[in-house]
């Protein structure tokens, strides 16, 4: 199974710089930049290459500025 993780996408026009995403990220992969959150999931992932978090950053964002994408596959699916 290939790594298909794509870092969260940020719509800076929606971001209010509230910082909830920074608080929520269990991997400590996000910092607040001048115009919105900056993600470094690749370096911060506790299990390198696992990308197995549930993107709480997206869930807590009050303005819907953060979007995580994922495929849905069966066990052993390609």
């Amino acid at each position: 199974m290939e790594t298909t993780c794509i870092p969260p996408q940020v719509d800076e026009t929606r971001c209010t710089l509230c910082g909830l995403c920074v608080e929520a990220c269990r991997c400590h992969a996000v910092e607040l930049g001048e115009r919105g959150p900056v993600f470094d999931c690749h370096k911060a992932c506790p299990v390198p290459g696992a990308y197995d978090c549930w993107c709480l950053c997206e869930e807590v964002c009050p303005t819907g500025a953060i979007t995580c994408t994922f495929e849905i596959v069966a066990e052993n699916g390609a």
Binding site: M1, I6, Y51, D52, E58, T69, F70, E71, I72, E75
Partner: protein, 222 residues
């Protein structure tokens, strides 16, 4: 732009037509292209054309006054929309936008009605298509009205993992919420609940169905 009459054979409505009839009907179609996120049709507006998807994916949805979406369908090549308003003369039933680069074939309402009246095979295929849509939308109503978010999300995950056309589509929680009639936050919480129960897991940017049998039980509301 004129259309290729052979392409019409991809659509069940025209598959049974002879070459001459299909060529004549093709002369009434126009090809139109749309960019990702471009609006194609708006709910409530007067409908002028029936549309057939040749390339790409469109999203068909209803929007509430509060801005909540309910996705009715994603249509790929071979899909069609606006048939109901074309046939009953009413306004557009749903909004439609392009998810990808999209190529459509469109035919004016009056021409399409002439085609239906003039070709028994097309009329029968339209009836079969609308019957299937009644079944599909009835199932959707059942899911929205009678099942919990847990069950609806389980049904959605199973259907997507079973659909080879969707296997490479990258979903967002907001998109899933619009499909199953809830809000983004609820999708996130429910996904984590299913993960905690061992039914799914997040792995390498994917949601993996880890316990299909139990997920199917959840989907049935058991």
């Amino acid at each position: 732009m004129a259309v290729n009459d052979q392409t019409l054979t991809r659509f069940p409505l025209f598959a049974a037509l002879g070459d001459d009839a299909r060529r004549e009907i093709a002369s009434h179609f126009q090809e139109r292209t749309f960019s990702p996120a471009q609006a194609i049709a708006l709910e409530g507006e007067q409908c002028r054309v029936a549309c057939f998807v040749v390339r790409g994916i469109v999203r068909v949805y209803r929007l509430s006054h509060e801005g909540r979406e309910q996705v009715l369908a994603h249509l790929g090549p071979g899909g069609m929309f606006n048939l109901v308003p074309v046939l009953d003369g009413g306004s557009g039933m749903a909004s439609v936008d392009a998810l990808t680069e999209v190529t459509l074939y469109s035919i004016p309402c009056d021409r399409f009605r002439q085609v239906v009246r003039g070709h028994r095979a097309v009329a029968l295929a339209v009836t079969e298509y609308l019957s299937a849509e009644v079944r599909r939308l009835s199932d959707m109503v059942e899911g929205l009205a009678l099942y919990t978010v847990h069950a609806r999300l389980a049904r959605f995950l199973l259907s997507q993992s079973d659909d080879p056309q969707q296997s490479s589509h990258r979903w967002t929680q907001a998109e899933i919420a619009a499909h199953i009639g809830t809000v983004r936050e609820m999708v996130g919480r429910t996904l984590r609940d299913l993960d905690a129960a061992g039914l799914i897991r997040r792995q390498r940017g994917r949601i993996v169905i880890a316990n299909r049998e139990e997920l199917e039980r959840q989907a049935r509301g058991e």
